[in-house]
């Protein structure tokens, strides 16, 4: 057996968790990242990380309820065994992070403090100020640095993953990477390659994501044969600060700590918001969702903000759509816990949000979809079989995907503070699975195979550097971002989606006539950008076609033309009948569409198939979140389920 060696691409929470766990098991790791791993996008995460905990347990919370909240929040589009396993591990993961020195906020007695996040009624979220991702990433980064000092991990920072190396049997034997300083390209041999390469918000131009979140690595794996799942499910976060280069997030923790969303009842009321009395404010989330209030899941909050601004015309400003996010009434101790995010608002907007309500609007935030990965279900527990090589394994032998880059865990909509969890969980989970797989790989990767792969990529890069067409790559990206943001975010119409696909065709065509203003072969950031642009165009197509084909509303994917009309008769009997119709339509919709979108790349074509979702543990149900007026749906649904003999999940 050749020496095992694993290439981990990505040094966010997922990649670091995987790398450190492999290193602890004495598997040598090559860790590849576009930026020094300590600067990975995970550093941006603000609000916190979820798990059932000692306090919520005493209030009746369980791992199962966390699991239930997660699949209900995701509109049941996720395979349930991995989610169950994740929720079972969650409290142990927080304990581990605690032992690794994360400076979590503390209760007066010194226990970890928790806050509430969206889509749940429990305070499940552990946090470190309002910069939790930073603290978690640094703790793992320090672990990896330790293993690096011990010689178990070799870092390739400022390196771009250009693609996997597959042998004649379609088995992955290495990864082609490029040094972004010297532009040197080489192929690293590997028994397995793990991709923890994050989301693809940059396809939409500006988002809450970092500049490296182009989805390039996933697109390159996709081109090499890795299937992609649920690409059309992009989370639009309800509260971000509009900016020229980035839409900076204002974390859900602001609402978790008591922040309230409102607009003046009078459209574009010119008064200072502080002078508008409570009776003239419309706290629309609280009024529409009395149970969850400001902490409804993100897709719902986003659509309500959109509705209030676009359909009702109640945006705070006329030219620029926005609503107020108001933390001015919170006590100073509470505001202190939010310093990390309030400083961002202050720094970039020049206003003190402790005194003046913030102006915010939804922005692209998270990719629920990602590389398709397998899992090994444990029939006894309903969770996963530990160490099974199938977990997180893509369809290409030897390529694994974890973190935001895979398609598991969040279904149609991710709950806040569940992503840090899924990233660390999948990173830890995958390590023994990869090790077990790697043991079965025979012989060293053939040198010629590696050389040829590196050569092919070198040629592609040289061609880009030499290209002298009239088309400006940055302009193409700007146009791509504009149309994607306009047509493929909160509200989707088939006609607009078709237009978007036509525009993507046009952009792809123009990409063929691109010009590179830098022909050099040293730290050529334009060539790196051009490579990623090709990938973003590809992902835009995957997202848009997925959206066009999915004629329904589910989670973040919202098509008004395919909404099931809400029961609204004043006559009780008729209302009941309408609710029955609604439930029947809901059932039919699920029969047709409760399926993951799975896309495969075949010589330039995208092949779409639809895969059944494992909902064996918690049967799907309508997702109303106690919306006023939707009580009848819940009631009728329960009646119909009882008649059909479906057991409601034991919560």
């Amino acid at each position: 057996m050749a020496e095992q060696r694993v290439v981990v691409v990505g040094g966010g929470l997922a990649g670091l968790a995987c790398a450190m766990n492999l290193a602890a098991e004495e598997v040598p790791v090559d860790l590849v990242s576009l930026v020094p791993v300590k600067r990975s996008h995970s550093v941006c995460a603000q609000g916190g990380i979820n798990s059932v905990n000692d306090v919520t347990r005493q209030q009746g919370d369980t791992e199962w309820k966390h699991f239930d909240d997660t699949v209900y929040g995701g509109d049941f589009l996720q395979h349930q065994p991995p989610v169950k396993e994740m929720c079972d591990w969650a409290p142990k993961i927080i304990d581990l992070l605690d032992r690794l020195g994360v400076t979590f906020n503390r209760s007066p007695e010194g226990y970890r403090d928790q806050r509430r996040f969206g889509g749940t009624l429990y305070k499940r979220t552990a946090f470190a100020g309002a910069t939790t991702g930073q603290q978690l990433l640094y703790a793992l980064d320090d672990q990896v640095r330790h293993w690096e000092a011990e010689g178990r991990i070799t870092k390739y920072e400022y390196h771009d993953f250009l693609g996997p190396v597959l042998d004649d049997n379609g088995v992955c034997r290495g990864a082609v990477v490029q040094n972004l300083f010297t532009m040197e390209i080489r192929a690293l041999p590997a028994s397995a390659v793990v991709l923890g390469t994050g989301g693809n918000g940059l396809v939409f131009g500006r988002s809450t994501m970092s500049t490296i979140c182009t989805g390039s690595a996933a697109a390159r794996a996709f081109r090499a044969g890795v299937k992609y799942g649920n690409g059309e499910f992009m989370q639009v976060h309800p509260t971000a600060i509009p900016g020229t280069d980035k839409l900076r997030l204002m974390s859900e923790s602001a609402r978790g700590e008591g922040g309230r969303v409102w607009v003046p009842k009078k459209a574009q009321d010119p008064r200072d918001p502080r002078d508008i009395p409570a009776s003239e404010r419309y706290y629309f989330l609280e009024e529409r969702y009395p149970t969850y209030g400001n902490l409804v899941p993100r897709d719902i909050a986003t659509r309500e903000i959109f509705d209030v601004c676009v359909n009702m015309g109640l945006s705070v400003e006329k030219e620029r759509l926005c609503v107020f996010l108001d933390v001015t009434e919170l006590p100073p101790e509470t505001l202190h816990k939010l310093d990390g995010i309030l400083e961002i608002y202050e720094k970039f907007q020049g206003m003190n949000p402790r005194v003046t309500p913030m102006k915010i609007f939804p922005a692209i935030h998270y990719s629920m979809g990602g590389m398709w990965t397998d899992y090994a279900k444990d029939e006894k527990t309903g969770g996963l079989i530990a160490g099974d090589p199938r977990n997180q394994h893509t369809n290409v032998p030897g390529i694994y995907a974890i973190g935001e880059a895979d398609y598991h865990y969040h279904g149609g909509n991710r709950l806040g503070a569940n992503s840090l969890l899924s990233c660390i969980f999948s990173g830890l989970l995958v390590a023994p699975c990869v090790t077990n797989y790697a043991k079965t790989v025979k012989g060293a990767a053939p040198a010629k195979l590696l050389e040829d792969a590196a050569k092919a990529e070198k040629k592609r890069g040289d061609d880009f550097a030499k290209s002298s067409g009239q088309e400006n790559p940055r302009q193409i990206h700007a146009e791509l971002g504009d149309i994607m943001t306009r047509n493929v975010t909160v509200v989707r119409y088939n006609k607009a989606l078709e237009e978007t696909l036509a525009k993507i065709d046009e952009l792809e065509d123009r990409f063929g006539r691109i010009g590179c203003p830098d022909g050099g072969n040293w730290t050529n950031q334009t060539v790196t950008f051009i490579r990623a642009l090709a990938d973003m165009i590809m992902m835009a197509r995957v997202i848009t076609r997925g959206a066009l084909q999915r004629d329904e509303c589910r989670g973040a994917h919202f098509k008004p033309d395919f909404q099931i009309p809400a029961p609204k008769s004043d006559d009780p009997a008729e209302l009941h009948q309408q609710a029955e119709e609604w439930c029947r339509a809901f059932q039919e919709r699920n029969d047709k569409w409760l399926k993951s979108t799975v896309v495969e790349y075949n010589q330039g074509d995208l092949i779409f198939t639809y895969e059944d979702v494992d909902t064996s543990l918690i049967p799907p149900r309508p997702r109303t979140y106690g919306l006023k007026g939707a009580e009848i749906i819940e009631k009728v649904w329960k009646e119909m389920q009882r008649q059909r003999g479906v057991q409601p999940a034991a919560v």
Binding site: K38, R99, R145, T523
Partner: protein, 251 residues
């Protein structure tokens, strides 16, 4: 104000290339920061003299001043490009200047190689030492007041501003730097970090450790995260001295 923003940029094509300057005119946008300016230049790399040139190389990632990538010298002051708003910079001087940090080797233009900064963290053993990641129950309790002390230190984003400002951080000394001193204090403060605290004190007391700090206090003034570096340095100094004495007695 719809005028162009005038930006002078210090450039260098490669580590051993010559240093030169170019000036760019960038259309003003409301609320724009230096990263946006650099993005616009990348899209239209034409100097004020109409010369088509290569786009300016620079580092950036989070764009919200939490990753530390985009540090450079702007109008003569070291800071992050992403949180440097053009409106504020123009109040300092009518035309903006951008230069790379001087304490690290230039890779190209505004992009520098900060490996030395990360190596210092390695030397400092700024980590909790474990033998695996199994479930071993929860960590030790931590008083909120200790958390309040540790949390600010854990926000160091390795940006390098403090090193740029520190007179003792240079080619001649092999000073680990204030950021690393502060990370040692962090891991020696959190309960989980205690087991190898003496090893970290060895680093502080050793060559390139705390003795290299001349106490000029420049570092704390430039830290964008307002990390109490001089408090850390004072603590580290006391701990290292006590540690050295104890070690001497134990001999």
């Amino acid at each position: 104000m719809a005028q162009d923003v005038i930006v002078h940029i210090q450039r260098k094509d490669s580590p051993d290339g010559a240093t030169y300057r170019q000036t760019f005119h960038v259309p003003y946008e409301d609320g724009m920061n230096i990263t946006t300016v650099l993005q616009r230049i990348s899209a239209q790399p034409v100097t004020d003299e109409g010369e088509h040139t290569a786009p300016v190389a620079y580092d950036a990632c989070c764009l919200e001043e939490v990753c530390g990538a985009c540090t450079m010298v702007i109008n003569g002051h070291v800071r992050q490009a992403c949180s440097a708003l053009v409106d504020n910079l123009l109040k300092e001087q009518p035309e903006i200047t951008l230069e790379p940090m001087t304490k690290f080797p230039v890779v190209r233009d505004l992009l520098v190689d900060r490996s030395r900064l990360f190596n210092a963290l390695k030397r400092s053993k700024a980590w909790v030492s474990v033998d695996g990641y199994w479930d071993r129950g929860s960590g030790p309790l931590m008083a909120p007041r200790d958390q309040e002390e540790a949390y600010p230190l854990s926000r160091c984003m390795s940006c390098g501003c403090c090193l740029e400002a520190c007179p003792q951080y240079n080619d001649k000394e092999d000073f680990i730097g204030p950021h690393a001193v502060s990370q040692i204090v962090l891991y020696n403060t959190v309960p989980a970090g205690q087991s190898i605290a003496p090893e970290r004190l060895d680093v502080l007391a050793g060559p390139g450790g705390i003795a290299a700090c001349g106490n000029a206090q420049n570092c704390v003034k430039v830290c964008p995260k307002e990390i109490p570096l001089t408090t850390s340095i004072a603590k580290a100094g006391r701990a290292a001295t006590g540690h050295a004495i104890r070690r001497w007695f134990r001999r």
